[in-house]
Symmetry: C2
Subunit: 140 residues, 2 copies
């Protein structure tokens, strides 16, 4: 087991800045109709984007090891949200699009399957139960 840490700090309106162990900042904001200023991505978007980054890093690494002539690689992701609060994602669909003349379909299938079935930690976090607990404290 290993431990990951993140700090998320409130700025103003609905603007928050998050920083994880890598030290890189990620900005978030809400839409104006909810009191935000639409300056950055929504928190729920980060789940779909993180899923794409996670499986994309796996797949591109495997395709590179297989010496595939990949010229472009992207993912179209869609998430279905539940009606009513909390509007969680119930289903997520990823379409992998691999571009490049001479890329082998078997290699793509294997790369995508390996990520989806073995390596992708975001996918598995979404699929399985994660226990979320919390505490709070006040400071003057």
């Amino acid at each position: 087991m290993s431990e990951a840490k993140a700090k998320v700090i409130f700025n103003q309106g609905l603007s928050f800045t998050g920083t994880g162990d890598s030290g890189h900042k990620v900005e978030m904001d809400g839409p104006s109709e909810h009191g935000g200023s639409d300056s950055a991505a929504r928190p729920m978007e980060l789940l779909l984007i993180g899923l794409g980054g996670c499986t994309g890093m796996d797949a591109i690494s495997i395709l590179r090891k297989k010496k595939q002539p990949v010229e472009g690689f992207e993912m179209n992701i869609s998430g279905t949200r539940a009606e009513g609060h909390p509007m969680r994602y119930t289903d997520v669909q990823i379409e992998f699009v691999v571009k490049g003349k001479g890329v082998d379909e078997g290699a793509v299938k294997r790369a995508v399957d390996l990520s989806m079935e073995k390596y992708c930690s975001v996918k598995t976090t979404l699929e399985l139960h994660t226990k979320v607990s919390f505490s709070y404290r006040l400071e003057d």
Copy 2:
């Protein structure tokens, strides 16, 4: 039900750019030891950061409605990852820290409880089963 969409595009190395429905870009990258260039946050960090943003937006909105004199608000989040692939989060802990003279503890408890138990869609997505499916296609 509503549908959310995101596109995640490979740049180079392990660098990917994601865009959700808001249109704001989120950059991701991997560490140099895995072929990345450490230019941006890791995909798994986005889950903890998105969780903080989601519950933070709920809580700050509720505290604002309750006219609480909040001067600072942040969350310390830690996630325990499973050993071995896929290294999913098994447990996540959020510490809410609310700063401001005269902030009422009951209001903070109520704001945090309401987000955690009723509104936070990221928390509920992490806790419950999300079905992830996929397809792929090759383009010349």
